[in-house]
């Protein structure tokens, strides 16, 4: 069954009294239950906009979005989110940010238990010893990891992540990717993940399927299945001929878009 269905969705941003920006135009795709789906595309093509439609913070101007077969109406605790700008509550410690969110998801659990879960997830993100720090006392990458820990700790069936490893160094990134995959297929029921990234290798390594978008206005350019067996090994994967082929395909889709844009508008050699 499809976890998420995006049907003929168009999204306009109203810019005050000026003309509207069409961020997304006639988008169609679906995400199956338990699928790991990545969305990649140039900056400004509407990736975050799609994610915000899934969160319920935005609603589509046209078309509809179904979550578990029902139209999304507003936000819900059934979705764990990592925003592009992580946005923790600055007045709560790392631990409190998580346990506060958890107290909403699991109102029956005791405070002590929630704190323990928060500490566990922070530890798993390599943040042991930083539990009581305020966000302002943490680096960008650390804050982002707190946000990831929070989303994962909420243990939702659907996880929405907007460039979650953007502020993290490449070494930590590898560790976090493994942790994410681990968590994704370890539970009784596989979670569904929608993952936005700029990193083609990351998308291939993590995903069952990749949606490549083009900009101006945002459209789905291509859906690409990634059929490598799991668990995947990063190093042997990169030596695989099929991997190289897949990577080239995505790169050329990317450059297509860039080339046509630059050629059409900006370059006047």
């Amino acid at each position: 069954m499809s976890k998420l269905v995006v049907k003929n969705v168009t999204l306009n941003y109203a810019n005050g009294n000026k003309s509207n920006t069409t961020a997304l135009e006639n988008i169609n795709f679906s995400v199956s239950e338990g699928e790991f789906l990545s969305i990649i595309g140039p900056s400004g093509c509407g990736k975050s906009s799609i994610l915000n439609l899934f969160t319920g913070l935005l609603s589509a101007s046209e078309g509809e979005i179904l979550l578990n077969g029902k139209a999304i109406s507003g936000t819900g605790l059934d979705r764990g989110v990592v925003f592009q700008h992580y946005s923790l509550f600055p007045w709560m410690s790392a631990k409190k940010n998580i346990s506060f969110a958890l107290s909403q998801s699991f109102p029956s659990k005791s405070k002590k238990e929630l704190t323990r879960i928060a500490e566990d997830y922070l530890g798993a993100m390599g943040l042991k010893g930083f539990e009581d720090k305020f966000p302002a006392e943490l680096s960008g990458g650390m804050q982002q990891r707190v946000a990831i820990a929070k989303a994962l700790a909420m243990d939702t069936e659907l996880i929405l992540m907007d460039e979650p490893f953007g502020a993290v160094d490449s070494k930590t990134r590898v560790v976090l990717q493994d942790k994410l995959l681990n968590m994704w297929d370890s539970g009784e029921q596989k979670k569904t993940v929608v993952f936005i990234t700029h990193d083609i290798d990351e998308a291939i390594f993590l995903s069952d399927r990749i949606i490549v978008m083009s900009s101006g206005p945002g459209r789905v350019k291509r859906e690409i299945a990634v059929n490598f067996a799991r668990p995947r090994d990063r190093f042997s994967l990169t030596k695989n001929a099929e991997y190289a082929h897949l990577r080239n395909e995505i790169v050329s889709l990317f450059y297509d878009d860039l080339a046509s844009k630059i050629g059409g508008e900006e370059v006047v050699l």
Binding site: T55, G76, S87, F89, W91, Q104, F134
Partner: protein, 303 residues
């Protein structure tokens, strides 16, 4: 820095000698002045030993230097050479002596003023903050409240004083009401704006948690606007002081503002100066603790 501190020490010693050795031409009680500067200097030396080369110690030294120079000029102009009219300008020693002797009386005035201040300012805090938070959070209420705040907020509350005294049954009730009005608007308006200024990204995060109104107000809106609330409260507090003392000068029979007005009427200028200094000290102490409170409440912010 060392050199500078030595300069301050030098000035201190010269000052002390001048005060003690030069004969006074009027009854000046210069010993009180010498006592005061010696005590402050000992405290300063203590701070220097306890807390070497800290920035705070340097600031304290600078401040003391300014105070000493002012006191020295005052002492020279009154007690030593009597350049100034001795009826209008008491010597520092006389003022210090009177300050000490009148302390019980001053504290009684403080108690009376505190009641008014706590009543008016306290009432403003417990109404303006919750209202500002709730109105700021509910867009429609905010839009409805804004024009009222724009029109009523800027009226200087001092103009209400005579009318409030006429309308309300007691002077105390009138004072509390006026202080309340003066503090209410800055706190309310600042809180309202503070809520609107909360980062949209943080509000988005909060909305993802499906909080109810109470949780939203207590755990997100309140801490998110605490900085604006505190600056509103600081403005409200200084308005409160102005209104408190003004009201007391007009209609009270006790209190810090009354003290100044009452002794002016008797041309008892040493006591007037004592009253003014006392108000200054009290305001400084309250502001100090207010700043501490603000620092504590905003401890999570980047310094």
């Amino acid at each position: 820095m060392k050199k500078f501190l030595r300069l301050a020490d030098f000035i201190f010693i010269v000052f002390l000698i001048l005060v003690l050795v030069l004969p006074s031409v009027v009854k000046a009680h210069s010993a009180y002045l010498a006592g005061l500067i010696s005590i402050t200097w000992v405290i300063f030396i203590g701070a220097r030993i306890y807390n070497k080369s800290s920035e705070k110690v340097i600031v304290l030294g600078d401040a003391l230097l300014v105070v000493y120079i002012f006191l020295l000029l005052w002492e020279l102009a009154t007690s030593k050479f009597a350049w100034l009219d001795k009826f209008l300008y008491p010597t520092p020693g006389v003022v210090i002596k009177m300050f000490i002797e009148d302390m019980p009386f001053l504290l009684k005035g403080l108690l009376s003023s505190s009641g008014l201040l706590a009543g008016g300012f306290g009432l403003a805090l417990i109404t303006a903050i919750p209202m500002g938070l709730y109105f700021g959070y509910k867009k429609r209420l905010k839009l409805a409240a804004k024009p009222f705040a724009k029109i009523l907020g800027p009226i200087p509350p001092i103009v209400y004083i005579p009318y409030a005294i006429a309308v309300l049954p007691t002077f105390r009730a009138a004072s509390i009401f006026i202080i309340f009005l003066g503090a209410f608007w800055p706190i309310f308006i600042n809180t309202l704006n503070g809520v609107s200024d909360i980062d949209k990204k943080i509000m988005d995060s909060a909305r993802m948690l499906n909080l109810n109104d109470r949780q939203m107000l207590l755990n997100v809106i309140l801490p998110g606007s605490i900085s604006a609330i505190m600056s509103g409260a600081t403005i409200g507090l200084s308005f409160s002081f102005i209104l408190l003392t003004s009201a007391e000068m007009i209609g009270a029979t006790s209190g810090m503002g009354w003290h100044v007005k009452y002794f002016s009427d008797f041309a008892d200028y040493p006591r007037v100066i004592v009253g003014i200094l006392f108000i200054g000290i009290i305001v400084t102490i309250i502001t100090f603790f207010f700043d501490k409170l603000e620092k504590y409440l905003l401890r999570w912010r980047k310094t």
